[in-house]
Amino acid sequence: MGTPCHFALFDLQPGFRIDLEQLAVRYRELARATHPDRFADAPASEQRIALERAAGLNEAYRTLKNAPQRARYLLAIRGHELPLEVTVQDPQFLLQQMQWREELEELQDEADLAGVAVFKRRLKAAQEALEESFAASWEDPAQREESERLVRRMQFLDKLSQEVRQLEERLDD
């Protein structure tokens, strides 16, 4: 790959359970040090390098901060790259996703903020359960298929939580 591992950039050991606090602190330090403004008077070639480093840093931070992206990255550096655009057939899980989305639609129609709060707690619990399972399985090559399924499920819940946040913002207005 030529570029250093995202984890090494932040002085972290590759792993699913990482110290998010440390990640954020280290990110801010590095972002200050590599900020393109600091190179405003430098030659064009150095400016370009600074810009590339800043972009790489942001990309690494975005990837590690987000649980499903971190999980997908971990599998990738272990040589198991998951394609981004893929169709999954995970009937029970998808059925539940459909039900949750129907519920969310009702909450939106009724502008039910209290209901949204309950929904959010349940979603959070489901995300934590998936993350726990992934943390326990991803290093075991025998559980590769299961790890992949868990990443896919995490991705769905991540999208859903974004939608919940957007709904909250709309209802708050």
Binding site: V88, Q97, V151, Q162
Partner: protein, 128 residues
């Protein structure tokens, strides 16, 4: 990103939104999802004694292109035999809806949903 007129039409007036009884032996259900964009698609068909799809319904949570792709898929499936329905290609859907390259995967999802529904029906009937 600008949607094509056909996408907007299907998005604003989706055809065949709804649900068929998944327990009905004449109904096949396909459930598929795209994890990166969080889309979830359910496509169902009801097949008559002649092996012709007499009804098709869908429900999609996703972007306009995913909704339009599945809406169009149900429209095209009605009146077709199972074998004919299985020949519906994502490229034809994408072309009809003028989907941009970044939205091609929505039409792939619709094609996969068609195949999943047909497979579910055949499985129920002991055909596979």
């Amino acid at each position: 990103m600008a949607y094509s007129e056909k996408v907007i039409d299907h998005y604003e007036n989706p055809r065949n939104v709804g649900k068929l009884n998944a327990e009905d032996p004449d109904v096949g259900t396909g459930m598929v999802g795209a994890p990166a964009c969080g889309d979830v698609m359910r496509l169902q068909i009801k097949v008559n004694e002649q092996g012709v799809i007499e009804d098709a319904k869908f429900k999609t949570y996703g972007c306009g292109s995913a909704i339009a792709s599945s809406s169009l898929a149900t429209e095209w499936m009605k009146g077709k035999t199972l074998d004919e329905a299985e020949l519906i290609k994502n490229t034809t859907i994408a072309e009809e809806l003028a989907l941009p390259p970044v939205k091609i995967h929505c039409s792939v999802l619709a094609e996969d949903a068609i195949k999943a529904a047909v497979r579910d029906y055949k499985h129920k009937k002991g055909l596979i």
